[in-house]
Amino acid sequence: MTDNERMQLIHAELDGDLTSQQRGDLARLLLADPQVRAVRDELRGLCSRLDAVDQVEPPPRLKDSILSRLPSAPVVTARRQASFGRWRLAAMLAGLLTAGTLVYQTVQGPAPGSRETAGTMAADTPTTLDSVAVGGGPVTGRATLYRDKSGLAVGVEVSGAQPVDVLISSEKQSFRINGLGSSSPARSTRQTIALPGVRMHGQEIELSFLIDERTVSHATLHAPSAH
C-alpha cells in the first residue's frame, strides 16, 4: 500500500466513509505500523480541535446595520419571476414525487426495542408547524414538525458522539430513524421522515433519542388543530 493510499484510508475514516473492507484494512495497518497510528491520531486530534473552535456571537449592530441599508426591494425581472414560478411548480412536483417514493414501516405501539425503520425523504418546501431544541444530554440538535402537500413530516438534526436512533410516536403509530450522526462522530446529521396517516388535531408527537437502545433524551412536538 502506498503512502497516498494509507492517507486516503485515514481521511476516509475521519469522514466516516470507510467501507467494512477498508475498516479492516485500516485496523490491520494501525496495528502493524506505529507511524501510521501516530499520523492518524494527529489528524483526529486536529479535526477535533477544528470542530471545537468557538462560534463567536456577532454584535447586535450587525443586524441593524444590514436592515438599515436594505434597498427598497429586491430587483425582480420577468426572467426571475419565471424562475420562481418554476420553483413553486418544482416544489409541488417534488412533494408529490417524494410522497410516492416513501418507504416506511409502521410499528403498532411505541415498542422501544423494535428495530423497525421508517423510510426517509428529502425535505421539499414544507410549512413549519413546530420546532424544538433537543439537548441536555449526550445528544443536541433540533426537531421540527412540517406539513406539506403529502402530509406531516418530522425533521431531526442531531449531533452526538455516537450514532443516535430516534423513535417518533404519535398516538398509535411509531416511526424510527436509525443511526443519525453515525457517518461522522460529533457531526450534525439531518434527516426528515414522513408520517403517513398521521393527521393534525392538536396532538403531541413524542420523540425519544436513543443511544445503544438507551433513551438519552426526549422532545415533544405539538401538531396544531387542523381547523
Partner: protein, 185 residues
C-alpha cells in the same frame, strides 16, 4: 423531558418567497437565522473582526439585492455561504501582504479575556488556518466551522464533491504540518 415551548419558524424557501413578495420582515428573519454562521465563516476566513462584519453585511445586502437570481434548486444557505466566501476572498485579495503580522495583529473578536484564558491550542489552530491557502481554508472553514456536509460545500462552491474532499484532505495535512512545526502537536 418535554423540550421548549411552541416555536413558529418558517423555512428558508417560504421566507425567500415572502421577501420576493416585498416582505422585509421575512428578510430580517433570514438575517437573524444566518448572521452568526455567516459572520463566523468570514471571521475564520479573514481573522479580523471588523473585516468579518463588513463581509457579513455585504453578504446579506447582496443576497437581498440578488434574491431574484437565487436558483431555488440550491439550498438558500449554500447560496448565502457562496456569497460570503466570495466576499471574504475579495477582502483577502485587497489586503496588503502582511506576512507574519497577520498572526500578531489579527483580531478574532473573542475579546481581552482570550489572552487571559491562554488558549494556546485555539491560537495555534487559528495561526495554522491563516497559513494555508484561501482555497484550502475555505473548505476547512465550511466543513469544520460551518459544519456543512460535503454535498453542501460542493453546492456552495460549485465544485464536485470529490474535489472538495481532495482539498480538505490537503488542508488537514498542511494544518497538521504547521501544527507540528509550531510544536502544537
Amino acid at each position: 423531558m418535554s423540550v421548549g415551548p411552541y416555536l413558529e419558524e418558517e423555512d428558508d424557501p417560504t421566507l425567500v418567497l415572502r421577501c420576493r413578495d416585498g416582505d422585509r420582515n421575512a428578510f430580517e428573519r433570514l438575517v437573524i437565522r444566518y448572521q452568526k454562521p455567516v459572520f463566523n465563516v468570514a471571521l475564520r476566513m479573514l481573522r479580523n473582526r471588523q473585516d468579518a462584519l463588513d463581509v457579513a453585511q455585504t453578504t446579506f445586502l447582496k443576497a437581498f439585492e440578488h434574491l431574484g437570481d437565487y436558483d431555488p434548486a440550491f439550498r438558500f444557505y449554500s447560496w448565502l455561504y457562496r456569497i460570503a466566501i466570495n466576499e471574504s476572498l475579495n477582502a483577502l485579495a485587497l489586503r496588503k501582504p502582511r506576512g507574519e503580522l497577520d498572526a500578531n495583529t489579527a483580531d478574532d473578536g473573542a475579546g481581552p479575556d482570550r489572552a487571559a484564558e491562554g488558549d494556546q491550542a485555539l491560537q495555534a489552530i487559528e495561526d495554522a488556518l491563516m497559513r494555508i491557502s484561501p482555497e484550502l481554508r475555505t473548505v476547512t472553514v465550511l466543513r469544520h466551522i460551518a459544519q456543512l456536509s460535503y454535498e453542501d460545500i460542493a453546492e456552495a462552491l460549485g465544485l464536485p464533491e470529490k474535489t472538495v474532499k481532495s482539498r480538505l484532505h490537503s488542508a488537514r495535512e498542511r494544518l497538521r504540518d504547521y501544527l507540528r512545526q509550531s510544536g502544537a502537536i
